[in-house]
Symmetry: D2
Subunit: 368 residues, 4 copies
Amino acid sequence: MKNTFGSSVSVTIFGESHGTMIGAVLDGLAPGITVDESFIAHQMSLRRSVGTISTARREADNVRIVSGVFNGKTTGTPITFIIENQDAHSKDYGELAYKARPGHADFTALMKYHGFQDFRGGGHFSGRITAGLVAAGAVAISALREKNIHIGTHILSCAGINDRGFADLPADIAALGDKSFAVLDDDIREKMISAINDARQQGDSVGGVLETAVIGLPAGVGEPWFDTLEGMLAHMMFSIPAVKGIEFGAGFALAEKKGSEANDTFFLDAGNVFTRTNNCGGILGGISDGMPVIFRTAVKPTPSIFKEQQTVDMRTMENTSLVIKGRHDPAIIHRARVVADSAAALVLCDQLALRFGTDLIAENRKDD
Amino acid sequence: MKNTFGSSVSVTIFGESHGTMIGAVLDGLAPGITVDESFIAHQMSLRRSVGTISTARREADNVRIVSGVFNGKTTGTPITFIIENQDAHSKDYGELAYKARPGHADFTALMKYHGFQDFRGGGHFSGRITAGLVAAGAVAISALREKNIHIGTHILSCAGINDRGFADLPADIAALGDKSFAVLDDDIREKMISAINDARQQGDSVGGVLETAVIGLPAGVGEPWFDTLEGMLAHMMFSIPAVKGIEFGAGFALAEKKGSEANDTFFLDAGNVFTRTNNCGGILGGISDGMPVIFRTAVKPTPSIFKEQQTVDMRTMENTSLVIKGRHDPAIIHRARVVADSAAALVLCDQLALRFGTDLIAENRKDD
Amino acid sequence: MKNTFGSSVSVTIFGESHGTMIGAVLDGLAPGITVDESFIAHQMSLRRSVGTISTARREADNVRIVSGVFNGKTTGTPITFIIENQDAHSKDYGELAYKARPGHADFTALMKYHGFQDFRGGGHFSGRITAGLVAAGAVAISALREKNIHIGTHILSCAGINDRGFADLPADIAALGDKSFAVLDDDIREKMISAINDARQQGDSVGGVLETAVIGLPAGVGEPWFDTLEGMLAHMMFSIPAVKGIEFGAGFALAEKKGSEANDTFFLDAGNVFTRTNNCGGILGGISDGMPVIFRTAVKPTPSIFKEQQTVDMRTMENTSLVIKGRHDPAIIHRARVVADSAAALVLCDQLALRFGTDLIAENRKDD
Amino acid sequence: MKNTFGSSVSVTIFGESHGTMIGAVLDGLAPGITVDESFIAHQMSLRRSVGTISTARREADNVRIVSGVFNGKTTGTPITFIIENQDAHSKDYGELAYKARPGHADFTALMKYHGFQDFRGGGHFSGRITAGLVAAGAVAISALREKNIHIGTHILSCAGINDRGFADLPADIAALGDKSFAVLDDDIREKMISAINDARQQGDSVGGVLETAVIGLPAGVGEPWFDTLEGMLAHMMFSIPAVKGIEFGAGFALAEKKGSEANDTFFLDAGNVFTRTNNCGGILGGISDGMPVIFRTAVKPTPSIFKEQQTVDMRTMENTSLVIKGRHDPAIIHRARVVADSAAALVLCDQLALRFGTDLIAENRKDD
């Protein structure tokens, strides 16, 4: 499949940047999960552009749920989210029909779709399509919360400026939920925003690293081969536009460690097994060990910059240059973090349903 | 699915470290591909342990193909590879039935399989299971070569010692094919091996980073969302035991760059489109752009070390310690590189078949 | 997956009978296929209720395409069809929240969704959901026509009255395309309609058998095991509500034949291989043989009848009876036939893309 | 995928009639299921040829389990079954490399595999490949029994002679388990065998209808669309060579009934919901209703007959005739029934794991 991900719980996304609607179909989620539209709206607001560090495009991003919710709860059948595109300025994009923007998918789209792709604003490749993922993810996040599983992502670094790492995970995750610019160290916020604004003023852009933590995931989820928990999360995370790397636990730093430093030793506390360190990021042999799942994703700088760039005119097949106009983000990392939360939640709902069945939430209910 | 990966071309792996047989079923590959058993044997030898830097376990790893090959060529139906386990010393592992080795999957296997798992030598979690992947991958590599697609992996770093990066890719890939310890800079080889031996003598282990390059992949392969080329490769690569990170092109380093530095500008040469740099690793918008696909995988140090480690006795649920005995690798990175080539080849065969149909090779034949 | 079908070309359906919207996402279809909205409207009209033999519910069934079509042609990315529900009378259904209608999915929905399902009008189980399938199928049918593959379904029998069988397939299929009540023998039409009306007047309902033919499908499509062409078509066809059987070629009648009668002998005509008979329904070993693919599906009588029926009150867990009110079809077979065409087209587009790649239509274009 | 079926529990089959080995990989089954090798051998014996009514080819069909079973129980990781081919007479098949046997897959295999297929004895299309399915199915059947789910198939008709229908299902299913020629009415056995022998003496063959019943399946299994229980079972059943039709419950006969006759009314007995009739075959809206699942499959007569048949020489592309030699079955229906049981068991294990999670059996164990 192409725009569908997941096996027991799956999400299908659709739409183009300047099309009529974008959206998502979330299927397979347990029945009986409370759907909180204000939480969805909140999550959408975290993804939306803010202030001068984001695109001037302003979309209300009102999410309509047109199926799969009845009396405020999931039915167990497909939940469809639609979002109308409103503030699309297609005239800005004329030249881009044939001049491939460096760092964008214009050229590869042409190679794959032979010129039939909707090139306006990046079409189906636009980061805007993640709005559907965030809407679906909001319901997935709600479902996980009912099982005491919580996810949080912060901007570990941006433009060379570093946030502090995770410390008290429950508190850190809770605090991140309401931040429109998600750093753990509030003192660092203005520095990062200032660096983003500097890049914007230079007609340039910056990237960064996101760090995501999942707490409460039970041990025993994931597969030893192929559908490892790392593999499933990575598979999904590379769908977030601009993500070019992912690492779990100590990740690439493990390559420099000795085994005696890297191994997380086990110990008992009140009858439960824990590890003293978490270099493995909560996953051993592809399977969750009950410790927090930790991963970092590398986000490249936004490819839409306003400097003149060399490229090829695909009509005439001649070397040329282009200057991108329109409205663009000098950074997307602060918007991508809620996409990371959402994407992770969708993967985990699927993994939990595969492991424990489709009644997960219903079982919870019986205990009430 | 669990031990099956791929859609049009798929691979299923099976077996345990100390079981009767391990192997793989490779399905969906085009008919008419020449199967060169000596090339398979060569690839198996690259995976096998060598000298003092690898486990003392010695397996002949004779691969028998028991289906799917007729008159020396693939039939188009499932190709089954079986490898008998011979040199298994199960008695070495008794204590490990209940003492979880740090860094290993013993604890997570128990959480998932409730004690029914074959714990001997890591059972189904053992790196030994990659032998089936290498056998299947050898045929996939052969299939890709018929389409002028070539894959090579070198040890970019090990124990803190760095190899040079890729330079002349066709020559570098060709040179790597025969190296039992795959570094591009031959002067670095002995230094790395020496560092591995040092770790061994300390009862410790080391990790490293593999770098893989694919040349000849046509533009237009991969999907914009979910089944991005990065996502598919990452999904598979995390199946290689000990891999904890992956990055494409400039990867995590992109997080520190400006857009103007990160964007790969396009130019024409003899009617073909190229990029001047390859920070994106040959993939834009999830789709190949015709440039080399480049990725790096982080390999953690082997968790089997010979120092005393803290752990939990899962029978008595008491804190305890263990000292691992048996035969183990102080490093696996030199063995993992052929697994990386194989795994990548399997992903690419699947992607090509999805994109261009199951007759890929048959079409080639018509041109002869 | 649950509401998604297909691998390279897939369809996802969503919605409930009395919800806000129903629809479908069609993904993976080749770029460059002309999307004819008037043809989609025509196909929708064939599915819609007509005259006294269908439900009094009247829906305009205006299909909006909100993604995946650009300048009148498919882009290659997901095509989303949405249809607003308008004429829903939810108050008719109150009692059905707890009294399971015999022959309907009310009871099984309760067992699966624990009371959270939208029970109004059958909710997600309603035949109305096939509207999305018909919209998606219309584009699939158009795509197949560009490859000279044509599909037609007629009502082989209804209420014990038989239509003639297929004879001149290209002419028969062409003639069926415009018929709102699809019989090949026009003299039989009024008899069937009269029998349906008789059932209606008795508060009862009737079923029938649909026969579908596909011409132009090349030989070599399908798999020997599991994803046989019969298996894939059957898998899909049982999604059409009320279908309880399927047979290919001579089907169940083959069970009574000798091998010498059943075997279809091969012969050459103008360099092409044909079979003299087509008892196998165009499929041997799971793979198309180039002859017409022929299958028949058994459609049970509409379960909504107006006679008093015994059932169980699921609130009080007592035996009770119910009399269904509301608007219902005394027969659905005349409406189901366009669903059969659509469903078959979706399966075939997927099979063709898997076999020949995702550029099928694009390749066509190059020949122009 | 091609030779893999199932999602949470999957089976992969491999091999050719005259190849080295055939077999299957069964993956995803819960850990802790007792594997009874004598039961597997018993099931294999039911599939094997017997007496004069079956092929003279005699295979011991010794099944070796080479992975996934430890201390006599499933581990939860892939279980691999291999069976060596012993009694293959490849020289019998020379002419069949280019003369397509009517009713066989020789022609379609050529269209798909371009001459690279292993044509000997039907190669990968041979009914012999079902041996792997029966081996895997035996373990699936054992797993279902631990959950009190039982499956039985009888020969409802063969050569125009009818068995009685199912009556006391638990007793009937139990009785069928040991019958090498599975009819419920023992008086009918000799008549059917005699009719098969008559066909054999005429160099001809016969088909029949199998009827399968499943008891104990809980209500609430299956999906409303696409992955309906009928659709999943049908998808799988068409993999049994020679199956050309399937119907559930009253099946095609429903097409002739009125709704008031077809609807199965609900009633309570001791707090449980039942239906008075079972015209729907235990499935409503694609989901099990807790009543027995009943289906019938049409099996065409064996295509290997010994009469002269018209065909095409694919080398010279000329019309010709052929007379099949070698060893063949005048009927396969008595051998196919254990394949039907096995195939159904594999589908149900997958559906149950998807619905209730992968620990199904482990949960059972906790109750002990």
